[in-house]
């Protein structure tokens, strides 16, 4: 058995009004993948920040490589050999790959950055990560999400980290990219580097994890469970106190007439000649990898991007190209992929976020009606079981799942007839997921059409009536969800990347 590199004992961290960590125990060994499980708000993020030197614990001990430590700042933690890859990658978009990798520790001579050394060492690290194709002088902003994550990892390696903390690394990755991530993790652990891996996806934990520590309400509710053999029911019950899994509510009702008709829609480099329909009361799911053009397609239907050719017809009328306002007036709603940057006003109260598209309707002669807005928003908060209920709280104080409820709830007000959902459950904990599934099904039962994009194939299959599979910007398959299995869909989705001739 390998040695313990990191040990936390009774760690407590308090913020005004909330005890985020309330006695956490954690033991990580060299060369293992230690998974951290817990619902949103269980304290995972705070724990990571304690390890990364962002927060100082109020009580308890952190033992790193045999000696007690207290990191004054993130640089100190990094110097000690703990690197953190955050969910929202902390890269500088306007710097190059190499500059990001060596940010803050640039190889220099006489005070001048030695660019050639930085570039060559970056190439070495990228090679080691299996991504020699990433150009070291390219600006980071030009890279896809997966590429940015590789750069983050390269930065961790360049620091010669002994422990790498990964906060939901797979959330921004498509299926085949996750496989590559796992390969890299296995290589790292083979070299004796410990990995703390955080994910909401149990199947990933089964595949990559060695041991699991479960957090619940700021406390450790289970330590050192074997990742592969612990029954899912046990893991879920440790997280929630209830035993639920991914529960899809039963399908009810039958789809009505055609609501949305997309014909020959194209945008260069994004998607090509896409045609499909969505009927009233129908849930249509789009399966595809990141970069398959699915999010771009959704945004184009919504008018947020202008198509180069093709039409979007809604309830028998063509929507003007590239006008979100017209789409919203017609009855479309979008819950975009990036909640925080695309959907929410974080500092504004929850009710103003919920009424962001409808406050004009409640207004009288241009004067807003805050009382009515709060009442309407409260109705939605009740229907969606928003926690906490107070709709005057800033939206930024809510957990990911509850933020998503706010975004979806926005479209429950007013006359939304077609709801576009882009990764509605990303970063949403198990309990809130089940509630969101219920909401989506309820909407369909009431005759609202739903077009859903998700990276999680079981979610698409479990929720949708009909499934569209996208690969490299093309619709390659349309079928009722009942006729497809997870393996079928994965095969279709990934065929392009595995065997290009099979299409």
């Amino acid at each position: 058995m390998s040695e313990t590199v990191l040990e936390l004992d009774g760690v407590v961290k308090e913020f005004p009004g909330v005890r985020a960590l309330d006695g956490v125990h954690l033991q990580v060994r060299a060369g293992e993948v230690h998974c951290l499980l817990g619902q949103n708000g269980a304290g995972k993020s705070t724990l990571i920040k304690v390890l990364a030197g962002v927060h100082k614990p109020d009580a308890g001990t952190v033992t790193w490589q045999g000696s007690p430590v207290s990191f004054a700042n993130p640089q100190a933690a990094m110097k000690a050999g703990i690197a953190t890859i955050y969910q929202e990658l902390d890269l500088v978009d306007h710097l190059s790959v190499a500059e990001n990798v060596f940010l803050g520790q640039e190889p220099s001579r006489f005070g001048f950055v030695h660019r050639r050394t930085a570039a060559s060492r970056t190439r070495t690290v990228l090679q080691r990560l299996g991504h020699p194709e990433i150009p070291v002088h390219r600006l980071v902003e030009a890279l896809p999400s997966a590429g940015k994550q590789i750069v983050s990892m390269a930065r961790a390696l360049s620091h010669e980290a002994k422990l790498i903390i990964m906060d939901e690394p797979s959330a921004v990755l498509a299926h085949d990219e996750v496989a590559n991530l796992f390969r890299i993790i296995r290589e790292l652990t083979a070299e004796g580097i410990a990995v703390v891996y955080i994910s909401h996806r149990l199947e990933e934990i089964r595949e990559i994890g060695d041991r699991v520590t479960v957090l619940k309400d700021g406390r450790t509710s289970a330590v050192d469970l074997p990742a592969r053999t612990t029954p899912t029911r046990d893991l879920v019950s440790k997280m929630t106190g209830r035993s639920i899994e991914y529960v899809f509510p039963p399908r009810e009702g039958t789809p009505g007439e055609v609501l949305l008709q997309v014909s020959g829609l194209s945008r260069a480099q994004e998607f090509h000649d896409v045609s499909f329909t969505v009927r009233t009361g129908e849930i249509v799911g789009i399966a595809g990898l990141v970069g398959s053009g699915r999010s771009e397609l959704l945004e184009t239907v919504y008018g947020a991007r202008t198509p180069e050719s093709g039409t979007v017809s809604f309830a028998g009328r063509n929507l003007p190209a590239g006008s979100v306002a017209a789409a919203v007036r017609a009855g479309l709603g979008l819950a975009p992929e990036e909640r925080k940057s695309q959907a929410l006003l974080l500092a504004e109260p929850v009710y103003r976020n919920i009424t962001l598209t409808t406050f004009g309707r409640y207004a009288h002669g241009g004067f807003t009606d805050a009382g009515r807005e709060q009442a309407e928003a409260s109705r939605i908060a009740d229907a969606l079981e928003l926690r906490p209920r107070d709709v005057r709280r800033p939206a930024g104080t809510l957990s990911g799942g509850n933020q998503q409820k706010v975004v979806v709830g926005r479209w429950l007000l007013g006359d939304t007839r077609l709801l576009l959902l882009d990764e509605p459950t990303r970063g949403v904990d198990v309990g809130a997921r089940a509630e969101l599934y219920q909401v989506i099904r309820d909407l369909a039962r009431r005759g609202v059409g739903v077009l859903l994009v998700s990276s999680e194939v079981p979610e698409v299959l479990g929720l949708a009536d009909r499934v569209l599979v996208m690969r490299e910007g093309r619709l390659i398959k349309q079928a009722p969800a009942g006729e497809l299995t997870e393996d079928d869909v994965l095969d279709l989705v990934m065929a392009g990347s595995l065997s290009p001739t099979s299409s």
Partner: protein
Amino acid sequence: MTAQTSVVERGGWWRTIPTESLWRNLGLVGVLVVLFVIGAIIRPDLYGDSDWVVNNMLVILQQAAAIGVVTVGVTFVIIGGGIDLSVGALIALAGVWSTTLATQSYGAGGMIFAAIAVGTIAGALNGLLIAYGRLVPFIATLAMLVAARGLAAQISGKQTQVSGNQFINGIATTRVAGIPMLVIILAVAAALGWVLLNRTTFGRRTVAIGSNAEAARLAGINVRRHTLLLYALSGLCCGIGAIMLTSLATSAQAAAAELYELDAIAAAIIGGTLLSGGRGTIVGSMFGVIVFSAITNLFAIANLPTEVQNMVKGGIIVLAVLIQQIRFRSLTALFRKP
């Protein structure tokens, strides 16, 4: 009923956010008190006379009037996520345009119309460049600053244009119930601004766009049109400010209202408006304007040079922003999900 309970749920720490601006305003009142006390120490002879004190306060407000109206517009632009560097130049342009002999021949109504129309149209041009031409607000309004001053100099031939209109000139000397007309105009503009920001859909859209323009756009708000309107509103305020300045000086010139843009932005900032948009108050901005005006007044009373005065103003801006950052940081720490 549950819907009811969630509306009237008891308060928690987040209740502190509305009072955040209250604390800041109290702080600015404190600064005013300190300035008053300093004045009283320096010139006990003047401050002993209560009539003089009341009158001096009105002078402070009167001096703040034109810049105050402009600051209302600038506050809207900043809350909406933009910046307007052209306000001083637009005042000069509107002032010069409305005091040409040709315009003056249309009488007071014509002059007021000209000033407001010129300001609004130039502001709308800013908005057009920014919203539809995708220019960065800083660049677009900087270009407008240079161009508008140039045009004002061209129109006036670099001469001071005297206003011969008794109505316009009389505005600055009129008092209603002892309160100068210019102060009343400022109060009305501030009140209208407050209502517009806090009680109308226009204000809600402004805050939404300043908080997160992409989210506002995807929620169906016409961000471009609203951005255009924000800069037009700022221009409109400049037009009103131009009339007020013309009335005070009984003349207009291309070099008028120099550096008003910086005073207006600084007043908004020390009043608590976030330069990144999404948050700010009209009341705070007005306090900011009055504090600056009070400093100018105090230096005049104490016979101190304007150089020192500008250094003090600079110091106050830095201090205000430092305090804002500390408070904001503690606030964001709370926002962050543990």
